[in-house]
Amino acid sequence: MYKWTSFVGAIAVSVLASVSASHAQSNDSLTDIKTRGTLRVGMADSVPSQSKNPNTDQWEGYNVDMAQNLAGQLGVKLEIVDASWSTLIPGLVAGQYDIAMSDLFATPKRAQTVAFTNAYMSLGFSWVVRADFPGDDAGKLNETSITIANLSGGAMGDVIRKYAPKAKIKEVASDNVFSPHLEVASGRADATLMDHYNNLQFLKQEGGKKVRILGGDVQFQQTPMAYAVRPGDQRLLNFLNTWIAYNQTTGLSEELRRKWYGF
């Protein structure tokens, strides 16, 4: 969910884009979408936010319903462009789609590469530790003897460094959101930090028997999630912010959150 992207890749694509003036991206995607008659949305797999059903090969999830609503509001057709977490932002910068509608945590660091909309939802984090980790005090994670697994490119790295600056951080580069959990379950790390929803999902499965959530059900640092557009795409950004605020007043956001996240 939070394995976001290779910023290096995004920067390389930006450089490529800037040297190729003949095919430079328009700064007014809203007009382009209306002229084209199609809204192109980039998505990377993450349950329950947006994921391709392996059996039907169709996208489904919170952001898929949202994207359909967005296309309806614009009066255009929806086209979902498949991306992976590694290619989501480079694909946006390269103009393969107009918006990245995936559950991206909006952080100041990331906002230097893309333009984020206002938050459409927020999720809290929780610590997953070895089942035999002593006690429920998160302060014990801030020790030099502790190894914390972090999904590279995710938003959690900064949070881990904030709460446990002394701990050793083990970067795990993978498109599988549960890779850091497996590091903990296999004893190669003492803990990992992930959004509470995914942590609960992992705990239900076989590998989850070797880990537990620190403090039982303690979530902290509610972090906003937002959609991303290309920097400078101001008209589209303004439109999306109006649309997000409107969905919150009509109750659509809440209805879809209950449908897909169950809370």
């Binding site: 890749g9 390389a12 694509v13 490529l16 884009a17 190729s20 003949s22 095919h23 990377a44 797999d45 993450s46 349950v47 994921s51 391709k52 392996p54 059996n55 090969d57 462009v81 498949d82 991306a83 992976s84 590694s86 290619t87 480079p90 694909g91 390269a94 103009g95 393969q96 498109d175 599988n176 959101v177 549960f178 890779s179 959990h181 497996l182 995914n198 999902q201 992992f202 239900k204 499965q205 076989e206 590998g207 989850g208």
Partner: protein, 226 residues
């Protein structure tokens, strides 16, 4: 009886086996594409490298070296993002993957075949020229068939390498076996079970391909024994 069997199988396998079959077929489809395009193109590239005009030879050598000395992952990234920017044409993950695999396999096959051509005795060419055999006939009827058969073990290795390399396509979201397994893993939160199943599928398919290639090798070697 059937219910005992299904009770033993993990839940994700019962729910998502069609997806795993489909993912494996996509992997095999891209392998077939890499061979179907890469092998004939590789023959052409090998001949150009050894016997082509300098104007064509130098760019082809540069291309082969470029492809052989860079990782397929990097090439796929470049193709997937450079094409839309440089040429203004949108490229789907499947199209980028097809271009990347065909290009890469052509270069690898060409090196195998070039090695086979270089190993042939120089006297064959001289004899053919002395007998008045034309260049087209010399290459297509005498040199290339021998070189291809002699280098079959190396080419079989290349085929197996490209079968495994199809898993790299998951990075640009091609729905092959690896990508499908990752999707099922996210949905079921059971990475251990799903990744073990995926490994077994790769092992069975890879073993099958290796077996088929050995049979093909033996059959062709027998026919061409000289």
């Amino acid at each position: 009886m059937f219910s005992i069997l299904t009770d033993l199988l993990p839940d994700f396998l019962l729910r998502y086996w069609p997806a795993l079959v489909s993912g494996a077929l996509v992997s095999l489809k891209f392998l077939a594409w890499a061979i179907a395009i890469g092998f004939p193109a590789g023959m052409g590239i090998a001949v150009i490298q050894l016997n082509g005009p300098a104007l064509l030879r130098l760019p082809v050598i540069a291309l082969v070296e470029m492809v052989r000395n860079t990782p397929l992952l990097v090439q796929l990234w470049w193709i997937h993002f450079a094409i839309p920017i440089l040429f203004g044409a949108r490229s789907s993950p499947e199209v980028s993957a097809a271009i990347g695999l065909a290009l890469s396999s052509a270069c690898y096959f060409s090196e195998n075949i070039r090695g086979g051509l270089l190993a042939l005795p120089e006297g064959q060419r001289e004899a053919a020229t002395g007998l008045g055999i034309g260049r087209w006939c010399l290459w297509t009827r005498i040199l290339l068939p021998q070189a291809i058969i002699d280098t079959l073990p190396a080419s079989a290795n290349t085929v197996l390498s490209f079968f495994k390399a199809t898993s790299i396509l998951s990075v640009i979201a091609v729905p092959e076996l690896m990508m499908t397994a990752m999707r099922i893993s996210s949905r079921t939160a059971d990475p251990i079970g799903v990744l073990t199943t995926m490994t077994l599928i790769y092992a069975v398919l890879g073993g099958g391909i290796a077996f088929a290639l050995r049979r093909l090798e033996a059959a062709l070697m027998l026919r061409s024994r000289r």
